[in-house]
């Protein structure tokens, strides 16, 4: 019996866990978006996925353009500062080249769906939808009576993806994952999902993790594969490692506006590279110079040690 080491190659992990037709959640709220994993899913030619992401961002635009996605479950249909996701809009507004099924929530609604599944509950209550048109067109948003005599409360159903991929700063080889900065829905989606792959900037010695156990957002028992994937969140960012590539985000708008340019981009930057290392090499001088950050270290805290 050995303690399970969960380090894997990204292509291996995606090949093993992501199948056509699955419900796949790629989370990361502006921060730590698992781009490398999304590109690998495209490269492997997966089809008919139900893609769940609170903020679809460029990665959804790319995966949808590549024909990977049948349905999008989300709560914000644009990219942070960069505006429209034109592939998403073409699909929805003009069914061009084909329709995209959409299930729409508010941010907290999406998060509560993950929380429900992560908690083994059929639903989760929230206060967001009284009077909104969202429940009318989304029959998944329902109500329960308040047994304490108050107004009925809206609930959203558990969302348990078949598989999720998230990105983080570091993990040990057993899969204890630490992240800092904006942590989004990552802990919840990993517990919600049947399988979880975590890509990380750095695989560290378990003593690094164990020096600060409160920083472990995802314990190893919830992780199926941990993948060493530096730069795996580009063009989004990793707090303390590299910053958001805002130039890249701005460039996406004209690219995504024209399907021909978009497909040329996919051919060059996704299909045309074997893996993330090659993608970073292809970025050349741009990486990591354009997104480098200065140092701002946390002050250590003392966990103490019992004296003999």
């Amino acid at each position: 019996m050995v303690k399970p080491v969960k380090t894997r190659g990204l292509a291996d992990a995606i090949a093993e866990y992501v199948e056509d037709g699955m419900t796949v959640a790629l989370e990361g709220f502006g921060h730590l978006i698992p781009f490398a994993a999304g590109h690998e899913i495209i490269r492997q030619g997966r089809r008919d996925l139900t893609l769940c992401r609170m903020t679809p961002d460029l990665i959804a635009d790319q995966m949808i353009a590549a024909g990977t996605v049948r349905k999008l479950v989300a709560s914000f249909f644009a990219s942070g500062s960069a505006g429209s996701l034109h592939e998403v809009r073409r699909r929805i507004e003009r069914h061009d080249p084909e329709p995209l099924e959409v299930e729409e929530y508010s941010h907290y609604g999406m998060f509560c769906r993950y929380q429900a599944a992560a908690s083994g509950l059929p639903f989760f209550p929230l206060r967001s939808y009284a009077g909104s048109d969202l429940p009318e067109l989304n029959p998944q948003i329902r109500k329960v009576e308040d047994p304490y005599g108050g107004a009925p409360v809206h609930v959203v159903p558990a969302l348990a993806p078949d598989v999720t991929v998230v990105h983080a700063q570091r993990a040990d080889r057993y899969g204890n994952v630490q992240m800092w900065g904006i942590v989004g829905a990552q802990q919840e989606v990993v517990y919600a999902a049947r399988r979880a792959i975590v890509t990380v900037e750095e695989i560290v010695d378990e003593e690094v993790v164990r020096s600060d156990p409160n920083r472990t957002v995802i314990p190893a028992h919830a992780v199926d594969a941990v993948v060493h994937c530096p730069g795996g969140a580009h063009p989004s960012y990793v707090q303390g490692c590299y910053d958001r590539d805002n130039a890249f985000y701005r460039d996406w708008t004209p690219i995504s506006k024209e399907p021909a340019r978009l497909h040329a981009w996919l051919a060059e930057w996704v299909y045309g590279v074997p893996d993330r290392a090659a993608y970073l090499a292809k970025l050349g001088d741009h990486w990591p110079a354009a997104v480098a950050v200065g140092e701002r270290l946390s002050q250590p805290v003392d966990y103490g040690r019992r004296l003999a």
Binding site: G30, R89, E93, Y108, F111, L134, R244
Partner: protein, 266 residues
């Protein structure tokens, strides 16, 4: 109803529409404690407010950042500059559940494609949801913020009957009027939209269950002009004031200290 001019011509400085809206919005934050700020124009407004009318305004973002002290201008609500040096970064459950839904946010700062007379917002679609003319960003946090923030301020970049229609194409974030209509027991804790700032004036909704009314017109704008550009028969406050112009210092701060790269300023 009378229009009372309040701005001094000497203060005047040539400003863009964005600068004007940001400065007007910043002033609305005087005396407020905690603001839930979105990206874009709200970013400019909260920064300007902190440098002028409200230095200790607490900035809360749906990404989980509470008490941001950004060293540079944020390019999004999840920007790394909001995290570095913040007072706190909390979980989404803590942010949406404990901070927002528990009632710890005084002001929600929202944008919208459409606002109706009661301050319900559409940020989802123009046209039919199933095959819309324009697919808009959707709720994001807006449907969560509207019922739960103490009040909401909305900034519109257009003032015409399309942006302020009699009927929304879709209601993403409902006013308390709509919430109560859906179920008399479902009255949200928050006031809903209290203030709408447009390129023509400022509409206010003093009554939680009332209608928006025109409270301010911007310099050079008439009450009649505002009413003609609104999709319903807009009520007008007993006294309508003229919106004070941005000060030279407001404009200097926006251009030289806040948005030096002209990301949001136009």
């Amino acid at each position: 109803m009378t229009v009372i001019p309040t701005s001094e011509p000497d203060d005047s400085v040539a400003v863009s529409s964005t600068e004007f809206l940001a400065a007007v919005a910043a002033r609305e934050l005087a005396g407020k404690g905690r603001v839930f700020a979105g990206v874009g124009l709200p970013t400019l407004a909260v920064d300007l407010a902190k440098r002028t009318v409200n230095p200790f305004l607490e900035l809360v973002y749906e990404s989980g950042v509470c008490g941001a002290h950004p060293e540079g201008m944020a390019e999004g609500i999840a920007d790394s500059v909001l995290v570095s040096g913040a007072d706190a970064v909390v979980s989404m459950q803590a942010l949406f559940g404990y901070v927002l839904q528990r009632g710890n946010v005084d002001v929600g700062f929202l944008g919208a494609a459409q606002v109706d007379r009661h301050g319900s917002l559409n940020t989802s679609v123009i046209g039919d949801w199933h095959k819309p003319k324009v697919r808009l960003p959707g709720s994001g946090g807006a449907a969560d913020i509207m019922p739960n923030a103490g009040e909401c301020i909305v900034v519109l970049r257009r003032h015409d009957p399309g942006a302020l229609p009699a009927q929304l194409d879709f209601c993403t974030s409902p006013s308390p009027v709509r919430a109560r209509a859906s179920d008399p027991r479902a009255v949200p804790p928050g006031h809903g939209v209290a203030t709408v700032i447009t390129p023509l004036g400022v509409l206010r909704r003093p009554d939680k269950f009332g209608e928006l009314e025109l409270a301010q017109v911007h310099p050079g704008v008439s009450v009649q002009q505002v009413r003609e550009n609104t999709g319903w028969d807009l009520a007008v406050a007993h006294e309508v004031t003229e919106t004070p112009r941005p000060t030279r210092e407001d404009v200097r701060l926006l251009r030289e200290e806040i948005d030096t790269v002209r990301l949001y300023l136009r």
